[in-house]
């Protein structure tokens, strides 16, 4: 394909594919815990890290990882306390993060709006060869941790108190999820962008779980859908000259809608072919003494 004769296109493709695979592998735990929007919050905080990096003339990826990790750990510690004020603290962190980031980027020497837009919504051309190695290495670490630790991470996200009584290192695993979220957000900011990365953690999982029965199957299908929408997104963004992150996310949401419609049609067809096979669920006894 002539599109991929350019090095930057190959880099954008590889960067998008590893994010398409890693983001849902982490996101499934966030969805299970009903914290689907946490990636969005960490993305806001990471923008301050980008601003710090540009201002100090250092690699924005490095400073963004550090600042986002600090923010994610702070959010996790608030969650652990279970305070009602946690909601308000999250809001302060999110908006402080994005406002601080926009201000710091404005103060830096490289202050073009195009630059800011590339961090917020992703771009085909921003991934340098050096960035790519960092992205692939960190994404591989995220994938290995999320897949190998699946039984333990499933246990703490499914029932944290039970995991505690099982003697699992609950706090260490929670902090691992927090730091992994920060790493995933930061490596995705080049391709998908900070404002849309959360969608890649959540939308493939939401699409997969419409047709799956178990956790492992949901994880596998979500990763496959993430890979597919990332790969086709790179191609479509180059063809249509659109922002890469937005294109990938639109395709992932199209997959969600396709599966929703497809499974509804399939269920209604099956019902029509076998109308008598509507079994009554196991009837619970009335639990009272019925007079005869």
């Amino acid at each position: 394909m002539s599109l991929f004769q350019y090095d930057f296109m190959i880099r954008a493709l590889v960067g998008a594919l590893v994010i398409g695979l890693a983001a849902p592998a982490l996101g499934i735990y966030l969805v299970q815990r009903r914290m689907s929007l946490i990636g969005d919050g960490v993305g806001h905080v990471a923008l301050t890290g980008v601003g710090v990096g540009l201002l100090l003339d250092r690699s924005p990826v490095l400073t963004a990882v550090l600042v986002a990790a600090a923010g994610a750990i702070a959010i996790e510690l608030l969650r652990e306390r279970g305070r009602t004020s946690g909601d308000m603290a999250l809001a302060l962190l999110f908006y402080g993060g994005i406002a601080g980031g926009v201000m710091l980027v404005g103060l830096s020497a490289d202050r073009s709006n195009a630059n800011l837009m590339a961090y917020l919504f992703g771009s085909l051309t921003t991934t340098s060869a050096q960035d790519l190695w960092v992205i692939v290495g960190l994404a591989a670490a995220v994938l290995v941790a999320m897949v190998l630790l699946r039984p333990a991470l499933f246990a703490i996200c499914h029932d944290e108190e039970y995991a505690r009584v099982s003697g699992l290192p609950v706090r260490a695993l929670n902090l691992l999820i927090a730091v992994t979220t920060a790493v995933t957000v930061t490596i995705a900011m080049r391709t998908v962008g900070l404002l849309l990365i959360s969608a890649m953690m959540v939308v493939p999982v939401a699409a997969a779980q419409q047709v799956t029965r178990g956790f492992k199957a949901t994880m596998a299908l979500a990763m496959a859908l993430g890979l597919l929408s990332a790969g086709s997104g790179v191609w479509l963004a180059a063809q249509a000259n659109t922002a890469l992150g937005a294109t990938i996310v639109v395709l992932a949401i199209a997959a969600f809608l396709g599966i929703a419609v497809g499974s509804a049609v399939w269920r209604s067809l099956r019902r029509r072919t076998a109308p008598a096979a509507a079994p009554v669920a196991e009837v619970e006894p009335p639990e009272v003494v019925l007079k005869h």
Binding site: V31, D159, V165, G167, P169, Q209
Partner: protein, 255 residues
């Protein structure tokens, strides 16, 4: 005399400075089946949660298998059955996957599941009568079947003691019978059982000793006492709707 499974001495628990348990002492010996009884809000669930370290003690000590709670690490020896299935249910999970979590205390975080783990999961599902539901999503099960899934999860770890928090609250009669049978088998194999109950129902013949928590202290420790109030009315057979009697824990104990 062998080491006690649970040994609470002068335990005190307070929520936000308000004492819930004032001075509670309780010893459970290996092989015993002990029921903690009491009215709603008496502190009976708080007592088992303190024993497991889920709520902090404001005073006194808890020893598990002869080790102070703070230094206790052999969690594989204890199987915990909470009142309800965990809140984290945003993603579908099969019955088999939930029960397999029970093996983690035994095999640790890093080691992948082996043949022994799969055998234990199958055996636990069979013990509660859910073997053929292993591949079904937990969310499609009835309340009683979900409760049995949680008991299978605890049994899968092959513990020496089971700690159960209101295992039969709101559970249909068929599940209560399946549940009593599973506990009978566990106890016959030498297992110790500590359970919190509002009323015993089909578990009654199993229970060797009852502890009644009342007003933050232990009001009775011995044979299962005769029921009081409307429970004592002749002809009352301990079968009645639970829905109105059992307010959700959230309302009673925070969290």
């Amino acid at each position: 005399m062998s080491t006690a499974v649970v040994d609470v001495r002068h335990g005190v628990v307070a929520y936000d400075g308000r004492p819930v348990l004032r001075d509670v002492s309780l010893t459970v010996a290996p092989g015993e089946v002990v029921a903690i009884l009491g009215a709603n809000g008496s502190g009976k669930s708080t007592l088992v949660r303190a024993i497991l370290g889920l709520v902090p003690l404001a005073g006194g000590t808890v020893d598990l298998f002869g080790t102070p709670l703070r230094r206790f690490r052999q969690w594989r020896r204890i199987g915990y059955v909470p009142q309800r299935i965990g809140a984290g249910s945003g993603v579908p999970a099969t019955v088999g996957e939930v029960v397999a979590s029970g093996r983690l205390a035994r095999r640790g975080v890093l080691r992948p599941a082996g043949a022994a783990d799969r055998r234990a999961v199958t055996a636990a599902l069979t013990a509660v009568g859910l073997a053929e539901r292993a591949g079904d999503p937990v969310a499609t099960l009835s309340g009683g079947q979900q409760q049995r899934t949680l008991i299978a999860r605890a049994l899968a770890g092959e513990p020496e003691a089971l700690v159960l928090d209101e295992p039969t609250a709101g559970v249909d009669a068929a599940s209560q019978e399946a549940f009593a049978e599973a506990l009978r088998g566990f106890n016959a194999g030498g297992g110790t059982v500590l359970l919190v109950a509002h009323e015993l129902g089909p578990l009654h013949p199993l229970v060797g000793r009852a502890v009644v928590v009342h007003d933050g202290g232990i009001a009775h420790d011995g044979p299962v006492p005769a029921p009081a109030g409307h429970h004592a009315v002749p002809g009352h057979d301990h079968v009645h709707p639970h829905a109105d009697e059992e307010p959700p824990t959230a309302g009673t104990w925070g969290r």
